[in-house]
Symmetry: C2
Subunit: 483 residues, 2 copies
């Protein structure tokens, strides 16, 4: 482990975080909120913690896979810790554990909240809470890379550790260049959605908040009843479309800009994602019609919004799906594990992995029928190598193991089945709302402190795709090696 470089990069990340708090300070000054001092001191503390670390000089600047993983894992934990300062100092969330939960939930774009009363909080706090979604969406570390290309060498390792999905698309050879292109797209989508929501009738502040929650596939709202508060069909359609877009691979939009307008439909993962969404919407609409809503259009409206919101791991709500039929709830629960596409801002296991897993399943069955035949798994017209396949299978198993370990700890709270299981699924998958106590109309405030810490870690583990955080717990990860 190259500790010096790791510490230096962590310092840079903290300084960046201090800078990222500035817009929230501006918001609180604009609204003359009581949270001005809270932001001022949070920025100061975060910067003061970061600056000394940035001065550490390393003899070698090389970073290897391990260092990359350490930076990402520790980086996200630090971001959440310092990101919780404004909540604690302003008094909006007095408990440190609750504030850490809320900040992790923000940065990891989960959107799970411990707040029972959101409306009425200072605007600066509400802005910061949602802005962390936007920052976390594309990965703060990639962001750091985009503006600080000086680190160079091992940056691909970090991007690999942080970007969702098994195949981080290197669009152009240089990492910093790739990050810049992805960020430009991200910016453009953000601006576009704010404008559209504004036109649809939302105040500018609400438009910004919901845009951050959408493009980061986070799900924090400034309203107690989430997007449902507005009861505005146009807003729901805009949010649904943008959520769907942000749950897909961003490199597809780069290809579209380059002139290949059909790029998404040539992509096997996108087609799988689209098909899953359509099937889920149809099944839930049928299940809702006559049982929950008397009109088929109302059923379709809420089912589309909720399906896209859950599969993209956003977690906005327009209808209390806790009251839907079990069939609809089980479908939503399953979608919490599917999640977005590789290279999107969405979380969970990802469509590409499920697609590959289904192909492996089909191959295993074919292999039994024709034991001597040799089948290779093809994706996007090319054969996938066996190492990738066993990585995907291994990832799936690890995801389930982390899931059941966390369920076991949360079960100590002695809550009902729905809450115990779904709280973990909704946090490790970065979705936000679950079922039962943590359902669409509920929140995470009543859980024990132990559960809150475990679920915060689940959010980070899920966001970083399992490995980085688990590695921190392995003794051999910390050993020095001479190469």
């Amino acid at each position: 482990m190259n500790f010096r470089v790791v510490l230096r990069v962590l310092g840079i990340i903290l300084v960046c975080e201090a800078l990222l708090m500035l817009p929230s300070l501006v918001v609180s000054v604009y609204y003359r909120g009581e949270d001005i001092a809270a932001f001022g001191s949070s920025i100061l503390i975060t910067a003061l913690a970061g600056i000394p670390l940035t001065c550490i000089r390393a003899s070698k600047n090389d970073i290897y896979a391990r260092d990359g993983f350490a930076i990402v894992a520790l980086g996200w934990i630090l971001l959440s810790l310092f990101g919780s300062l404004p909540f604690v100092i302003s008094g909006a969330i007095p408990s440190h554990i609750n504030a850490f939960f809320e900040a992790s939930s923000g940065f990891t774009t989960t959107g799970a909240s411990i707040l029972t009363q959101i409306e009425g909080l200072p605007k600066g706090i509400l802005f910061w809470r949602s802005f962390t979604h936007w920052v976390g969406g594309m990965g703060v570390i990639v962001f750091t890379l985009a503006i600080l290309p000086s680190i160079g060498a091992g940056s691909l390792q970090m991007m690999k550790a942080e970007s969702p999905g098994p195949t981080p698309g290197k669009i152009v050879p240089k990492v910093a260049e790739t990050a810049k292109i992805l960020y430009s797209i991200y910016f453009a989508i953000t601006i576009l959605e704010i404008i559209l929501l504004r036109i649809a009738g939302l105040p500018l502040f609400d438009s910004a908040i919901h845009t951050f929650g959408t493009v980061g596939t986070g799900g924090f709202s400034n309203m107690n009843s989430s997007v449902g508060s507005y009861n505005n069909l146009t807003v729901e359609i805009i949010v649904t479309i943008f959520t769907f877009i942000c749950g897909a691979n961003f490199t597809l939009y780069y290809q579209m800009l380059k002139g290949d307008l059909c790029a998404p439909f040539k992509d096997e993962e996108f087609r799988f994602y689209l098909r899953t969404v359509i099937i889920a919407i149809i099944l839930i609409t049928i299940n809702l019609y006559g049982n929950v809503f008397s009109s088929i259009w109302e059923s379709l409206r809420h089912s589309s919004f909720q399906v896209v919101s859950i599969i993209s791991t956003t977690g906005y709500v327009t209808s209390n799906f806790e009251e839907w039929g079990m069939f609809s709830k089980i479908i939503l629960f399953m979608l919490m594990f599917v999640g977005g596409c590789a290279g999107s801002t969405g979380g969970a296991i990802k469509n590409i992995r499920f697609l590959l897993l289904f192909k492996v399943m089909k191959r295993e069955l074919m292999q039994v029928i024709h034991p001597k035949a040799v089948y290779s798994i093809r994706f996007g017209g090319r054969a996938v190598n066996e190492k990738t396949i066993s990585e995907v299978l291994g990832f799936f198993f690890m995801y389930i193991i982390v899931f059941i370990t966390a369920v076991l700890i949360v079960s100590l709270d002695n809550l009902d089945w729905a809450t115990t299981i779904s709280s973990v699924a909704a946090t490790i998958g970065n979705v936000g709302p679950g079922f039962g106590v943590v359902g669409a109309a509920g929140n995470y405030s009543t859980l024990s402190n132990l559960s809150k810490i475990v679920l915060s870690m689940c959010m980070i583990i899920g966001r970083l795709e399992i490995y980085p955080i688990l590695l921190l717990g392995m003794p051999s990860f910390w050993k020095r090696i001479n190469i």
Copy 2:
């Protein structure tokens, strides 16, 4: 597909089933029950259905993997269909679907019941119900092989398709010989347990019923409150020990007979199984003490019984674990997925697969730390080849897929989370009782017919370790191939 041979073997299986009904007829005659005619006609119908098929002559006697899988899959479905005749004809279970559910539950050694009132049923019916556990325990088809070695050639394929676990132990070169040795051990354990339960104070009939349920890891009882009815500590200890024994690999006992008394402790899977049981017992005892039982011994007594009963996929009950804390319930729920060892009569995913999966997980993490190192996974001192590993990973994924597909269908009944999820886990894992409506004090009677059919198929799918039944659904499975 060699249809002629497949049909002929299915005929032989039916004739064997007719013969296996004879002991139940004897029991009903002995007790002068009202079910004598039911058994007489069931035997007649089953034999008449089987005999014409046995006369089919095939030009080639060779059977390949596909034929073996077809025989096993169709064989178990036919066994359950014809095995339900005594229930329907005697009027004990008038509904055909309920009777099929009960018969599948018996043969697959699940022990899930649709009966609300067990005590008072004719003795012959109670005997047949539990006897199917005993028959199903070691696999009827292996039984067929043991007495009919004439089929020869492809019999290993069948044994492979039917025996639990990824490595069917060929103790001695000949399949029929292997089957005979395993059956002798099975017989010996059966006789021993009947004698011990008799000494502990149970009537002979009850001793036989509970022995069948134990050695087959089934779980049917002739008492409404299962083993708990007797409130007899000695009986509970005997049942716990034998359940544990039957959840382990039978070939270990063969090695012990050969003089290697430490054989189980040299076996990595057995040690994993033992460790899992001990850890689960300790955790549940701590959770129960003070919350459910005021005495630590009472907590230990019920936790040991229940842990062994669930992990071995037996499903006997001494305490209504529905009323235990969520932590204990989640542990039991997880054990439903672990199940017994390879080569045992237990069901579910099996200890050996979990052991290998954990090793894969550890390797994947080590690989990240040392990307250039080459790690091989070792089991019992030897390296496991990569093909086996990807088969195990693939199996795990398929198990989960079948699980969630069935959960989705059962969710149409619109029951609570505990029932919806655990009913599937308890049937695909061949456990029996789940949680909620299908919990320790409940049964499966209130589920819809669709759910009952799906859960019956889950039992068979689980018992045959996924492949055979799924293959039946693939068109290419049925195509003729020329080799």
